[in-house]
């Protein structure tokens, strides 16, 4: 067991994988000399050299496109998109190229690349640097999608992503980088694509991922103090989506809440709500409740920013309403 931050775990995953696999290269803005805008790649350039840790110009579309080409010709690129908010510039390369190449070309070749990025609120970074855009990715067949909530997952999911035969979008949360947890990096990780039950309880099920796992756990603790026991499921990957882990808990509790930081409409919560309803309809006492980001852009004002995304209070309050 060792205590480390989410940021350190990510860095460790990159370093360990790069040591094992000489075909892994990193590329992105400021990943080298600067060490990454959030410090995840700090000093990796010293360890692995500028040919494997490649500082790029500010060219998001071509970064992703270059990663596609590298992946098709035998490298295992890990590209970094400094903020998921910049995904708009890369969506063609991501969704029309990376995601479809295996399919369009009849299975001749895959695109084993990872696009690391980070999203979410928490730094007063405003409307173009605080978004949670995973729904765009989840809606795109061909792209895998991982969103680690814990330090252990920061390490293990990233390691797993770097062995995935298909393109993986890997979205970190900017508010988690400094979070510290004890982890055993050598322990057998949960398999890729498997959700984690962070807490089990029979009164209701909260299905979530990324930073909201922590908010849900905090809410669950509050609820427990009032005698309400919630299950908290951390999806870990949104594609693949592990419904098998969700089903029995919802069938038992009969009540489910889905929580995402991204905006509600047509977001991840919509998919989870629809899916739970489809699969567990006869067990539901209540409709699945979506707790999500407001259907608005994020403000730079700290008050408005915090007010526009779910937090422990909203989750707990909603749970109490559900069980009233």
């Amino acid at each position: 067991m060792v205590e480390m931050t989410y940021r350190e775990a990510l860095r460790q995953a990159l370093a360990d994988a790069m040591t094992e696999n000489p075909d892994i290269i990193l590329l992105g803005e400021e990943v080298g000399r600067y060490g990454g805008a959030y410090g995840v790649t700090r000093d990796l350039i010293k360890e692995f050299g500028a040919h494997r840790v490649i500082d790029t110009p500010i060219s998001e579309a071509a970064i992703v496109g270059a990663a596609v080409g590298a992946a098709m010709t035998g490298l295992r690129p890990v590209a970094e998109l400094m903020y998921v908010d910049f995904i708009g510039m890369t969506m063609d390369q991501l969704a029309n190229q990376a995601a479809k190449i295996r399919y369009m070309f009849g299975g001749q070749i895959g695109v084993p690349m990872v696009l690391r990025t980070q999203g979410g609120t928490g730094r007063s970074a405003g409307a173009q640097h605080s978004q949670s855009l995973e729904a765009y990715v989840m809606h795109t067949p061909g792209l895998r999608l991982a969103m680690p909530a814990t330090v252990a997952d920061a390490y293990h999911l990233l390691r797993q992503a770097m062995t995935c035969p298909d393109p993986v979008v890997f979205i970190e949360h900017k508010a988690l980088y400094t979070m510290k947890e004890d982890v055993d990096l050598a322990a057998e990780p949960l398999p890729w694509g498997k959700a984690a039950v962070r807490r089990a309880g029979d009164d209701l099920v909260i299905v979530t991922y990324s930073r909201q796992v922590h908010h849900a756990m905090a809410a669950a603790a509050t609820l427990a103090a009032q005698g309400i026991e919630a299950t908290v499921i951390d999806l870990r990957t949104l594609n693949p989506l592990d419904f098998d882990t969700i089903r029995p808990f919802v069938e038992r509790a009969g009540r489910a809440m889905v929580v995402s930081e991204g905006v509600m409409t047509a977001g991840v919560g919509a998919e989870l709500s629809a899916r739970i309803t489809e699969e567990c309809f006869d067990f539901l006492h209540d409709p699945v409740v979506r707790v999500a980001g407001e259907d608005i852009p994020i403000s730079v004002s700290p008050a408005l920013e915090a007010g526009s995304v779910p937090g422990p209070a909203l989750i707990a309050e909603t749970a109490l309403r559900m069980l009233a």
């Binding site: 500082d55 500010i58 173009q128 730079v300 004002s301």
Partner: protein
């Protein structure tokens, strides 16, 4: 509002100096706002060292002109005549700010002054000037639109798409690249093989120059030539060479830069240079000091102003997603309450 556009007769060196000095002073206060924990976040990008670009180019613009800026745009907007109180309040995320605390440092805008908006997306504001150029042509109002951006934005394809359109349609547009030699930790020669950036614009058929930002008069002169040309249907590109005096954003101490390079870079100080020239031409240090003191006092007051302002009300977050004539989005809390209150 009739802002102090530093145009025409206002562009003598004294005025240029004064405006640069205001920018410098304001930016220092932005740093202080942050240190005092009163800024909304830490994504504050100071334009210290690049004042001549802001001031020299704005001096060439007319009241009807429009512009977009990048994330390091405080100086440009001040040079255009912004109210420093409303700017600082916006940087503090306050209701009294230009954007009521929704935009912050990287999203200040003001339609009254033709400021079509700062942008937190590198290159994101560039194509808008093509549209503004189409508008100007359509309306025949003689407006030029200027896109301000950094050297880092030359990595973005949309710059070339926009320059190509402007050249093709002979639009009244100026692309102004403030080349402070760095994009975050990346020096320009680590971002491109040919650092003579204006050559790209030439290749697309624009008029293009590079000017040394040390000399605000040279910048103003080049800008006037190119802005006038743009107004006459010859779109243009101007690179202003300067040096980013401090870190990328407030917390960055630029460990990736050679201190010797920094020392040399900071010698390229357009404010000091203009001051020296003014003294050469007969102004006294005392008169300049008096002016500086007045400016600093005005800018000091922006901090007090900002601290005294209130945060925007929570309910304002649902405002302005759509036009005021439209219903606001239903809050999540209200939705949940409605869903669960069904029985």
């Amino acid at each position: 509002m009739t802002p102090p556009f530093p145009t025409g007769s206002n562009s003598d060196l004294g005025r240029l100096y004064r405006t640069m000095r205001r920018v410098r002073s304001f930016e220092e206060r932005v740093g202080e706002l942050f240190v005092r924990g009163q800024s909304a976040g830490s994504m504050l990008h100071l334009s210290i060292g690049e004042e001549s670009a802001a001031v020299g180019v704005c001096a060439a613009m007319k009241p009807q002109d429009t512009f977009t800026t990048h994330h390091r745009g405080h100086g440009i907007f001040l040079a255009r005549g912004a109210d420093p109180n409303r700017m600082m309040a916006e940087i503090g995320g306050k209701e009294a700010g230009y954007c009521h605390g929704k935009g912050g440092s990287m999203h200040i805008a003001d339609m009254g002054l033709g400021h079509l908006g700062a942008n937190a997306i590198v290159g994101g504001g560039i194509p808008a000037v093509v549209g503004a150029g189409l508008s100007a042509r359509h309306k025949g109002n003689g407006a030029v639109s200027v896109a301000f951006f950094g050297d880092g934005a030359t990595g973005q394809g949309i710059l070339y798409e926009s320059m190509n359109m402007a050249a093709l349609w002979k639009l009244p547009v100026l692309f102004c690249c403030i080349n402070n030699q760095y994009g975050m930790g990346t020096r320009i020669d680590n971002a491109t093989a040919n650092t003579a950036l204006h050559e790209r614009a030439l290749a697309f058929g624009l008029a293009a120059e590079t000017v040394d930002g040390l000399d605000v008069e040279a910048v103003a002169e080049a800008a006037r030539r190119l802005v006038d040309g743009a107004r006459a249907g010859r779109p243009a590109f101007l690179a202003v060479d300067c040096y980013r005096f401090f870190g990328h954003a407030r917390k960055d101490k630029s460990p990736y830069r050679d201190p010797a390079e920094e020392d040399e870079g900071r010698m390229k100080d357009p404010v000091a240079h203009a001051r020296a020239r003014l003294i050469d031409t007969g102004m006294t240090a005392a008169a300049l000091d008096a002016m500086d003191g007045e400016i600093d006092a005005e800018m000091d007051a922006t901090i007090d102003f900002t601290i005294a302002q209130t945060e925007p009300p929570l309910a304002s977050m649902f405002r302005d997603v759509y036009a005021p004539t439209e219903p606001e989005p239903e809050p999540v809390r209200a939705r949940i309450a409605r869903v669960l209150a069904r029985t």
